[in-house]
Symmetry: C2
Subunit: 965 residues, 2 copies
């Protein structure tokens, strides 16, 4: 798997930056750029609207009926639409010309921004700066700002800011329009869900500054719109702020009135932004994880935590986090074990109030769990595999075919994936253990633990043949096996659950005897039930062989047909898709860890069957049989932790990054359906429990760091029984101040592109020549030599010489030359790699040396892709990366930083004098390619990369260091 | 069942008039007021829009994917929205006050109009006259006109005319917005279906006349809108015309361009209307049925034919008529046997080109039928029970539960209701027989007949035990039995089909030997297949007992548990709902005719097993066991024809009206889902084949009329082999000129309301008194006596006397008094009936006397409802019915006409002098109630209705006639 398949991203410590608008990726990027505030989530859809866009704003708890999956989170009216018309032509990136583009998610402040310089088909150039946020300080408020600055014209600009009352869940609109209207210069909208009858009130306001602007409100049915228009002047920015408020009948009596009132009371945009930023500062103060030495990982970890923080309900304990958070339509907003087992630890340890909200949801929905138990003929509370507003089972029963003659596929999870009840209890227990919140345990947790224990008492069967208790006909954690008897994960979790149930009852009796009595009466916790629990604990089948130390995943698993996953590589599909459902059922292939998942859950408390030895034996057996790449996204983070425990650092890091990048880089190809919430939660556990090695002792948490290669420092906090514990872990032997400049220390190579890896210098020359000829400027190959490594603007200025041109003309010429160049590089292919380049890249790769590109070109990315070397390059620093061009050192320093390396851990390979100068200025060893008159200033001079090997270079570097400087 | 449950309708020969806006009935009325033109259908949604409205515009063939039912007709953008703002207040009938209201569907010209006098909450009164049509002359064009006339103010009026690009199929929006824009003062919209990728272009234009009006175009996403605003002046009408064009990629290469062009080329509204009216005149010239003597039936028959005419594709032979036409979402636009068996005869006999289009659809979709055969393991073509664009089977397989623990219900029609293939062939054969269209038969029909015969050859099984061919495991016409062996209907239809297949092959060989050869090769019509067909014809099980003449519906039917449907009365649900699916399966209860359906289909050609004797025996057995009221809507019309054949005239008429009113009066409670197309088709057959008794002879069609009671004349045309045959049938012994005025001839009683049936005279008095007191006008009980039977305006003028009031003041006072009155009558209940009234009404009812109300009051309908006597009254003539008030005779004459009676067949019962005078003027016998000084002019004077019986009245009438005049 190529994890670095999104070369149009730049990763910095706190920001995810998209450098290119790619219409084919809009659905993926809508998920990636989701923002939210724990009340609502909004996908990263563009304000101006595109045909196939899938905008979504999802509010916690706003469910409505739908066939097959029973209920789903209803997509709410889209608050983003902002249509900008420049002198009669509507701004859309698929028309006209994008001159520059950058979209940035600022994780630290929860702000999504976008800068575009766009030229209309009519030739008007405009700078547009968008910015949006969902206020973390005022959860009913969202805000959007757009700054509009004409570059080369004066003219009429019109901006329409709307709420679209026609949102859709994959085509379905859950809303009925009740009414709409306007008050002074604001509009409002009042809607109601079709079936659940939840009303939603929204307010819409607009402020314009920087121009004399008219503001009018129009009210096409379902589409309240505020329109402003103004005369814009070249070089002068006009700012349009759009403010939107949301209230539902889940929040207040009269939502539309509340939305109007809130809107009327709002402060200025800048004040809202300040309050919002402050709230984020406070959230990160508790929840941040800082990683030094691996900027990609550092960003990815923060990204995943960000997505969890915006999904957690701040003021509502009747909702929980859905499998896809509030970021997409996948799994319809339903809640799975993903929340309790994967996501909750992050909140338990860093935001315990949010963890409490999430767990209290299970208390409020216990009625649904009881109805489910009754339906299946059991007692107590049987939690639903998929749960929504009421807790009733909402897992679809059938997957309907599309083809008129296709067959429906029966989905068995609702009936059989019963471990969910123990999973909920595992989370309840963890929360209690870590928070020490006895009040909550007494009022909420205990009832959950005990009534689900009652369920197990009715679900477990006794086998007279084997004289043991059994749990038959289940799906375990591994969903490739759809009808398992005595699934090890399920059985041990049930046993563990019953142990905790007895402990809970004892604790209650001791500490809160009245509550104990009340629950014993209401839940019928008779003595005979308690004795039966003890009997089950003692006699429940756990298929563990003390000789081999192997735990058999389920009855007969080891007798299933064996499999060698390598036989199926390379693949891009799950093993179930390849083998069919039936084929997977009868083979020893796992969708995700099952026995290993059990060991992971028992690891922290060192309970049976966890020992390092058992882990080792079972890892060796199960890990190779687990479809970790295309099975469940829940697997990789867990494998990362266990591999880390077992000293398999590379494998751990690989699994970890697979999980960390699942959404940003769309590792599984399904990120458009929404954020992988469980994977995000697993990331926190992998860093803190895995790489940080946090273990709970009687005196609180202690760390034993196993940092991945390259990580220099890892910092995070956790809360243990009300106290904060801060951890600042450094790589063993790492001391940044005392790093020596020795060749053994070279960990990265930064290549210039043109003239080094390929010969686009020729294409540049041809582009400049054509331009110069058209403008009647003197230019030739010799003059071209002067342009090596020089930025586009500087190059042009050199060609122009003394002749006078206006700024506008200069911009036009730069773009003209670029157009010629871009046209000519369309045909670049791997054949255009310079001799020796590919061999050296591959050698470096094999030697574990990181590779960056450091090119002044703004076309570096497409060129690298066309050359087919994108997969060899870790970081691209290009014409968009820094302000100061070579010979300033900025570009190479940026590249080094992105590689996670100090400058003295890198070398630069350059063919231009300006580039050599830049490297020297950055205190980076420079390798010059070409004649001495050009690159003589370099530390090492070579004619080209032909026949240059890493070993030779290393030798030269060693020589260099031994030489007196 | 109360067929007359819609007292807010007036029926005239050609118009259906709704007299009241009832928000609870909007979905039903949207269906009822559907208009269309064979290209599209548009439900009768109000232009101004209401929360729970279900607007729909459905275009033939525009299908798109959807789960469960595979594909459905995609609701297209709503072209109706017209929002009118009167001095800042938006017109909506649920705010402000409706002063008068009338909606009219003019069937003759295909125009839906509405007149409202509305007063805003701000007190501004305006007359609005809406008119809309889908041009029958230019199928891509729809038009809407609104005339706006302020009654009592001058002010600003704004009109927004939009296309809503957010149509929905019960919440689901099938469309993606591609683009939109405007050209001069017109807007356009370009959309594409999500899955089937059909593009739709629409144009929107507006013309305003009668005021200086600005027109601007705005384009909120998906909601192109043309806005006009103008200063309106009291008493002066301004006319706004909205014109819309539609093209899809099914029609042209570039739909949006075509829509723009068509819009640009359109003539004036008035010209469009003229062309449209002319096209309707031509259509009715062929297809009309005129009935005299029963205005309700006359209107209903035309209404049903209208609904069929607007649903039939004029220029497209790749589509057919869906079960719910283009008028609603029921059955998702899928095509059933409803078209071939129920609807087609109307077209075959009156619009053969349309019939050909509909049948050619089956030819174009034979590929789907072949795929279905392959899927089920058979040969040839197996038509789909539900068919859409491709002919593939689109019957849903499951009915999913709503409740999370409910069970899905398996729907077996796709697998088992196989008679559809024979039904299609029945229609092909009928078309050929009637039209004599040999070319079509050669090119299309023959292949359908023969390839479906191939299917039967593979579907029929041979039973060695019984030495016969059998068809096992089917659903017959009666869908209450879901797993039948040797269903009589299916087996005989298959046998008949194979007979026709052999005849077709012989005919082809004889007449078109090359085509015969081509088909024989392509369809593999081997000799062995033909011999097998013959063998099947000879040996297929047809469970007929020549002794009893009974045909057993299926193997073992007579052994099922018997049922007495009367035991379940009264009921409002189907027997299947009452008994459950399983319960109905095991009883002798039918959803709809099955054996009787077979007899009906074989009746015209007098083929086996049809004889009148067999019909009689089987009617007596099956009719009482058929759930004709709440089973299938396909049943009543067929029962009506057979009952008519058997001389059961009353039953025939009852069944006929049940079918005729199924949509207008929502007899089954499901008319909101769309027009019952099959029932509408059945109506034509019931009138022409049943009451008209049309039989085909060698010399063409001949009639033997069995007109229902009261029908004086029945006229229609049919086309037989290219020639038109006109029929003008009169009731036996009916001679309108020679009807005598004898008491035996009294067939109807027309009651005044106030002072006769109830005492609202007192409420009127109180209303007038209050008004008079407020205005300081002299008035008392004595003066009130003068107002009996006098219209509201005349009453007021009497009270005012000489005093001067402006017209506006008069209008206001009339409404004020009415408001007082309406407030006071809110509490009327059956207790308020005057003594004797109810007894007399029931006696008249029992004696078969028709009853009308003839009241000047505009509140007559609500009063009648509150009194609980609506079910006793056939016709209501009220303040809306005629222009001239009593003492003019118009109201009573109107009532008589509506009853289908001559004036001399009626008597009037009145308490007011003006009423007696009106009756006399209309030459209607008058019964006066009250003192002689008031009603002495009456023919018969009685103190009140107390203790008045029909027998006594009859006696007095006889006396009267014997008296010298």
């Amino acid at each position: 798997m190529d994890l670095n398949n999104n070369v149009d991203f730049i990763y910095t410590d706190w920001s995810l930056i998209e450098t290119r608008f790619d219409p084919d990726k809009i659905h993926h990027r809508e998920t990636v750029f989701t923002i939210g505030n724990g009340y609502l989530g909004t996908r990263g859809t563009f304000e101006e609207g595109y045909s196939r866009a899938t905008p979504a704003t999802l509010l916690h708890g706003v469910f409505d009926d739908v066939p097959i999956v029973y209920t789903e989170l209803a997509n709410c009216p889209d608050w983003l639409p902002l249509s900008i018309t420049i002198d009669g032509e509507r701004f859309r990136m698929d028309r006209g010309e994008i001159i520059s583009y950058e979209r940035k998610l600022d994780l630290r402040r929860g702000i999504l921004s976008r800068f575009i310089r766009w030229r209309s088909t009519g030739g008007k150039t405009v700078d547009l700066q968008f910015e949006r946020f969902a206020s973390l300080a005022s959860e009913h408020v969202t805000a959007l700002r757009c700054q509009i600055k004409p570059v080369d014209f004066d003219g009429l600009v019109e901006v329409q800011a709307s709420i679209s009352g026609y949102p859709e869940n994959q085509g379905f609109n859950h809303w009925e329009l009740i009414d709409q209207g306007s008050i002074s210069k604001a509009a409002w909208l009042n809607l109601r869900t079709r079936n659940s009858r939840i009303t939603l009130g929204m307010g819409l306001g607009m402020n314009v500054s920087g121009a004399e602007a008219s503001v009018i409100v129009t009210n096409p049915p379902g589409y309240p719109t505020v329109i402003t228009s103004f005369q814009a002047t070249s070089g002068q920015a006009v700012t349009v702020d759009k403010l939107v408020t949301f209230f539902t009948s889940r929040d207040v009596e009269n939502p539309v009135q509340a939305a109007q009132q809130e809107l009327a009371d709002l402060p200025q945009y800048s004040t809202l932004l300040k309050e919002h930023s402050l709230a984020w500062e406070q959230a990160w103060d508790k929840s941040d994880i800082a990683i030094e030495g691996d900027v990609r990982a550092a960003l990815a970890v923060r990204y995943n935590l960000f997505q969890l923080l915006i999904a957690a309900p701040t003021n509502d304990d009747r909702v929980s986090i859905a499998a896809k958070t509030l970021s997409g339509f996948g799994y319809r907003g339903h809640v799975f074990w993903d929340t309790e087992i994967f996501i909750l630890p992050f909140f338990i340890y860093t935001q315990p109030e949010l963890a409490r909200n999430l767990l209290t949801y299970r208390y409020h929905t216990i009625g649904g769990a009881r109805r489910k138990a009754v339906h299946y003929g059991y007692k107590g509370a049987m939690y639903s595999w998929e749960s929504a507003d009421t807790g009733d089972e909402v897992t679809p029963r059938w997957l309907p075919p599309n083809d008129p003659y296709g067959e429906d596929i029966r989905i068995w999870c609702r009936d059989r994936e019963i471990h969910i009840s123990a999973d909920v209890v595992y989370a309840v227990w963890s929360y209690w253990l870590v928070s020490g919140d006895d009040d909550w345990m007494r009022d909420y947790g205990a009832e959950i633990i005990l009534d689900t224990a009652v369920f197990w008492g009715s679900r477990v069967e006794y086998s007279t043949k084997y004289e043991q208790y059994e749990i038959r006909g289940v799906i375990g954690a591994d969903e490739y096996h759809e009808l398992a008897n005595n699934n090890a994960f399920t059985n041990r979790m049930v046993q563990w659950h019953l142990e905790k149930a007895i402990a809970t009852q004892d604790w209650l009796r001791e500490k809160y005897p009245e509550k104990a009595k009340e629950l014993e009466t209401r839940l019928q916790l008779t003595l005979s039930r308690r004795l039966r629990w003890q009997d089950i604990i003692a006699n429940l089948a756990i298929p563990y062989d003390p000789n081999t130390k192997l735990i058999e995943q389920q009855d007969g698993f080891f007798k299933l047909e064996d499999i060698n996953l390598a036989d199926y590589e390379p693949r891009t599909k799950s093993m179930q898709t390849i083998l069919t459902i039936e084929g997977a059922n009868k083979r020893q292939v796992l969708k995700q860890p099952d026995v290993l998942m059990l060991l992971y859950l028992m690891r922290e408390s060192q309970e049976f069957p966890y020992t390092l030895e058992i882990l080792e034996k079972n890892w060796d057996y199960y890990a190779p049989r687990t479809d970790i790449t295309y099975g469940s996204s829940l697997g990789p983070a867990i494998h990362a932790i266990l591999a880390s425990d077992l000293g398999k650092t590379d494998e751990a890091y690989h699994n970890f990054m697979q999980a960390a990048m699942v959404d940003i880089e769309d590792v599984r190809g399904n990120a458009h359906e929404g954020i992988h919430g469980a994977s995000a939660g697993g990331i926190w556990q992998a860093v803190v429990f895995g790489f940080g090695g946090i273990k709970l002792t009687e005196n609180g948490p202690v760390a034993t760091a196993h940092l991945p290669q390259g990580w220099k420092r890892l910092q995070f906090k956790i809360n243990w029984r009300g106290d904060w514990h801060e951890f600042d872990l450094k790589a063993e032997g790492t001391n940044m101040e005392t790093l020596h400049n020795s060749n053994s220390n070279i960990k990265g190579v930064i290549f210039d592109l043109d003239g080094v890896l390929t010969d686009t210098a020729e294409y540049h020359y041809l582009g400049w020549q054509r331009l110069a000829d058209e403008e009647g400027l003197p230019f030739n190959r010799e003059a071209n030599e002067e342009l090596r490594g020089v930025s586009r603007r500087e190059s042009l200025l050199k060609i122009i010489g003394d002749k006078h041109y206006s700024e506008e003309q200069i911009l036009e010429m730069m773009e003209r030359k670029n157009r010629y160049y871009v046209e000519s590089i369309e045909n670049i292919s791997p054949k255009d790699l310079l001799p020796g380049a590919l061999d050296l890249l591959e050698e470096l790769r094999a030697a574990g040396i990181k590779i960056a590109l450091g090119s002044a070109s703004k076309n570096a990315r497409p060129v690298v892709e066309k050359l087919g070397i994108a997969k060899h390059i870790d970081v691209i620093a290009d014409g968009y990366s820094v302000q100061q061009p070579k010979p300033a050192p900025d570009l190479f320093l940026f590249a080094a930083k992105e590689l996670g390396l100090a400058p003295n851990e890198c070398i630069v390979v350059e063919d231009a004098a300006a580039g050599i100068e830049a490297a020297k200025a950055g205190k980076i060893i420079a390798v010059g390619l070409g004649p001495s008159e050009r690159v003589g200033e370099a530390d090492i001079v070579l004619p080209s990369l032909e026949n240059v090997h890493w070993q030779d270079l290393q030798a030269k570097l060693t020589d260099l260091i031994l030489q007196p400087s």
